[in-house]
Symmetry: C2
Subunit: 281 residues, 2 copies
């Protein structure tokens, strides 16, 4: 679709430039927005814009969670937010967290939605429907996709830990994602911070593939364990997501400042556990 | 949330009332809409409204496919369509095909979107993230959910056919869905028409649980084989979906009439293979 650098190259460049592996998840819950914004008709956009402007220098990516916009009829605000990010923070990749998964003809429409309508740099996808449900997204050569592998929630184990021929299902997904399914080198995996041993097992299988790691902060995942388990030999390779702990650090007029402070502390805590951080930044 | 009949009871009543197991999938592709509608700003809504009004007497359900609305920025038209269906065809359940799957806090927002914003009677969900990704939908006691089990696409086999302790993964999903995960009796399964042997295997595992069966028509699934394999002993239990073959039966001014004719022929063809149809209608 274009000749610009691949998503994964842009992400790698951002890790280096920003000296950060932190991703901020944009989960704007209408019930938790600061009182100062509540009367605004575009409160969700205004909240997210203030958060991203206050924290962009601290992150390797932003990850808007589609569900929060969809339940609030705020698709137009999501479009504005991504346009704002492209204009003001063009070096920060945006991972649209949609967890799509459908047959080919339908997946083409979801790919168009994510990459053309919203202009996302990457998406999250479910692997359950197999390779042809992923391919329409990979037709956009400069975009990326993170496949759900080992998710951070308790129920993740229900299917993902089932033994399939001597390995758990999530490891089979990891091997498919770094083998045949990934001819264009556009894939990453989602592996929760709540299971560091499994994060280490995935890293051992997938070389330098990027891993999106949700579950620190409100979900209880441990930063030190996640970074140790997930980083590559070069001290990168992971996109560590925190949402609520940063977004709702403060609920008064200074919410963006408070978000900045928590984001900076989180970035620094991540960096303390990285290999070669003193060289990287 | 309310005291009205459960989704599955309403579906069973509709099978009986309409004498039909046919579901029409609403996949409004802007590139294939009739020329007469193309200049309308709400062409997607107008097209779907004409289709549902022309075919409602022939179906047990309608299934709007979210991706087609999302790629066209047509969420408001989807809202109008569901409002129209509730008002004009209140006895026809609407299955919103969204294939969601996310952690609990996020799944609550998706449930709110599907059931409160759009007012759907049921949704489709991915099982990959396990039980707690399903539960927020089941909190709506009068609504239902169809879990992806054995999907109609070629890549469906990539994970779904993996052996997990002596059975393929899709059969494990079927057993989970009719066991512990289904305490409120709100679940059904999605099993593609393209694999009738696997449809029969699922039916043997799940008793009378409703099965949503996509893949006839444009995808090549065989009606006789699907009905024989999927129906219950009472000749119901299946929601057989056809989308493109009906929606795009004609592209001139008479498109709704042509859709009606193909839908009637499809309903009749399904009924020819049902047990006890002469009693049912």
């Amino acid at each position: 679709m274009s000749t610009r650098a691949s998503f994964i190259d842009r992400l790698a460049r951002r890790w280096e430039q920003a000296g950060s592996l932190l991703c901020i998840g944009l989960d704007p819950d209408p019930a938790r927005l600061p009182a100062s914004l509540c009367d605004s008709p575009d409160a969700i956009y205004a909240f997210c814009r203030e958060i991203v402007d206050a924290t962009a220098d601290l992150v390797c990516a932003f990850k808007p969670q589609f569900a929060y916009f969809a339940s609030a009829r705020a698709e137009a605000q999501l479009e504005r937010l991504l346009a704002h990010l492209r204009e003001r923070h063009p070096d920060v990749p945006v991972i649209l967290d949609v967890k799509r998964g459908d047959i080919g003809a339908t997946a083409e429409h979801y790919a168009r939605e994510a990459f053309e309508r919203y202009g996302a740099d990457a998406v999250t996808l479910s692997p359950y429907m197999g390779r042809d449900s992923i391919e329409p997204f990979l037709a956009y050569a400069d975009r990326g996709a993170f496949l759900l592998c080992r998710t951070s929630n308790p129920g993740g184990a229900d299917l993902q830990m089932l033994d399939v021929g001597g390995e758990p299902l999530y490891q089979r997904v990891a091997r498919l994602a770094c083998g045949d399914w990934n001819r264009g080198g556009q894939l990453g995996l989602v592996v929760g911070a709540t299971y560091p041993a499994e994060l280490a097992a995935v890293r051992a299988l997938v070389g330098d593939m990027p891993l999106l790691v949700p579950g620190i902060g409100a979900q209880g995942g441990d930063i030190a364990a996640s970074v140790s388990a997930g980083q590559t030999s070069g001290g990168t390779g992971i996109v560590i997501n925190s949402s609520r702990a940063i977004l709702y650090a403060g609920d008064a007029l200074d919410f963006a400042e408070r978000a900045h402070a928590v984001a900076r502390a989180t970035r620094d805590e991540i960096n303390r556990h990285r290999r070669g951080t003193t060289d990287a930044h």
